[in-house]
Symmetry: C2
Subunit: 333 residues, 2 copies
């Protein structure tokens, strides 16, 4: 049987388990040019919150359709010459155990000296977002100060480590003491701020004595407002996400100090990882190289069983995840 | 006698005439290396509002000091080898008829085929702000759509005309029908929107059928919020000013849709004209060339008499000015 989660309601505010309905159906048969894939790891990402509600950079998921999601899987049947049974592949397979997909929309995973889970924790949309957002837009220079919000998240934890590799002073903002400890003890961040218990303004003053040159923005809201006041002249702000607003039922005001953009001559620039896909090989080379040399770590936050996908998804919004959230829908082999 | 306006109070909200005090004193005598300048044109600019209240990109004007301001004048006495009596010069001469200034802080005006008033209306901080903000940060391409706010202002009116010279569709936002008529009839804008009488969202939809590629930001506030929803993918927003907030007594919220930066992959970048001074000759060459060829106009909004400087200054905030606001403190010759 193919088991799957279908979107049945558009949430207001926090998503609920009841926004999804569990269905079982016979495993579908691939038509001409199509491939049947059994999912192994399903990626859960903050951007999915937008997909549930409204059109953003891609259309919203239709009600009654399988919830959209990227996944890694293994080919079980193929009518496409580019894929053979047993191939490991990646694509938008959705929240389901089995997916029939057009071979043209599927990526055969290239051989790389990394575990399968690294395709989400270190590479793919997570790793490329961190790599290009920081290096292409943030353009950190040796000796500069980099601040990262949602620093213990999948992207943020890579951003900070890459900043260290580039010679920056790196300060992370995260939501628990254990996350902060992971950042400083295990990942080599120079400092980490628990925004739930510390005064962010004072903590940034203490930990960024030379001000902030690059702010990698994952959360938006009041955090952005506070950070703007600490930016240095000609600072850069890659805008990757603004998770603090994703569950708001009403549009919430932006920072009241955007005038700082002029005073400090700041650049704020949004980006999507898809824009950088033509340059993916650059990122793979560096990320795999750093990982192999023991200079870059990733952490997966794995939930077992596709039936637990909605619960795992909510971790992204209550801050209880540490590292990249994935659901293991089936065994690797 | 030297007549002058001294800052005596820090305004909350709109500046008042009583924030300044009129003083007369003997004309000072230049010391070694100093130059005595008689002012001709005093430039009045929105940024001065910030200088009255608090440190921004430069320190606030001290209470009891002559109000800061750029001016053009003529040398009446010189103890500096670089300046002779009769030379036309430019510098931060303040709101006064006569100023003794260190020769090192003074610019001798190069000979150019433009009227004296063009040093403020077409060139100097106004012209260079329009030129570099639009071309360096906005980077408009032929066929793209450019929207300018405060479009009938000193900077905005040049920005729109330069946009036309670069082959853009240009839409201005201004605050009266007569301003809008000037933009479309005299300056060649493709359309102009009176934000006081029209619905900005609907008007942008009508006049920017292909969306907005470059938004030259002079006003901030709700205008920015509305424009963000009309930006095209990979749009650019040079942030020159945010005059809508300069007289606010409390910090006002920013746009509630900064998430559009990500969806549209937008770049918002603040700048100050001073950063571009090393490249001033590029701007002078083009601006003077376009002006000489009849392709670029400027308009001065001249108030006669230094005693009227506070009144003229307030025009910037009630929207009654049209073109570059200057005070004529004395005759050109």
């Amino acid at each position: 049987m193919n088991r799957r989660w279908v979107l049945v309601a558009r949430p207001e505010g926090l998503p609920r388990a009841t926004d999804f309905a569990w269905q079982e159906e016979a495993i579908p048969t691939p038509g001409p040019g199509e491939v049947l894939v059994r999912s192994i790891y399903l990626s859960l990402d903050p951007a999915m919150r937008g997909w549930m509600s409204h059109d953003t950079y891609i259309p919203a998921v239709e009600l009654g359709a399988v919830m959209r999601g990227g996944a890694i899987g293994v080919v079980e049947a193929s009518n496409h010459p580019g894929f053979a049974v047993g191939d490991q592949v990646q694509g938008m397979l959705g929240w389901q155990t089995h997916c029939v997909v057009d071979g043209r929309a599927l990526l055969k995973l290239p051989e790389l000296p990394v575990p399968l889970g690294a395709r989400f924790g270190l590479l793919g949309h997570i790793g490329f977002t961190a790599y290009f957002g920081l290096l292409d837009i943030g353009a950190p220079k040796e000796g500069e100060t980099l601040v990262v919000s949602a620093a213990a998240g999948a992207v943020g934890s890579l951003v900070g480590q890459i900043g260290k590799l580039k010679g920056c002073r790196v300060v992370g903002i995260a939501g628990s003491d254990s996350k902060c400890e992971w950042l400083t003890k295990d990942l080599g961040f120079d400092a980490a701020i628990n925004y739930k218990t510390e005064n962010l303004h004072k903590a940034l003053k203490a930990h960024c004595p030379k001000g902030i040159d690059v702010y990698f923005e994952n959360v938006g809201g009041k955090t952005l407002e506070t950070v703007l006041n600490h930016m240095n002249l000609f600072g850069r702000i890659p805008v990757c996400g603004m998770i603090s607003g994703y569950n708001n039922t009403e549009a919430t005001p932006g920072p009241n100090n955007l005038f700082q953009l002029i005073v400090k001559r700041l650049k704020m620039q949004g980006f999507l990882v898809t824009d950088y896909m033509p340059r993916a090989t650059e990122a793979v080379k560096d990320l795999v190289g750093w990982y192999g040399a023991g200079k870059l770590q990733y952490r997966l936050d794995i939930t077992e069983g596709l039936e637990n996908a909605p619960t795992a998804f909510l971790k992204l919004f209550d801050g209880s995840n540490q590292g990249k959230v994935v659901v293991q829908a089936g065994p690797e082999n």
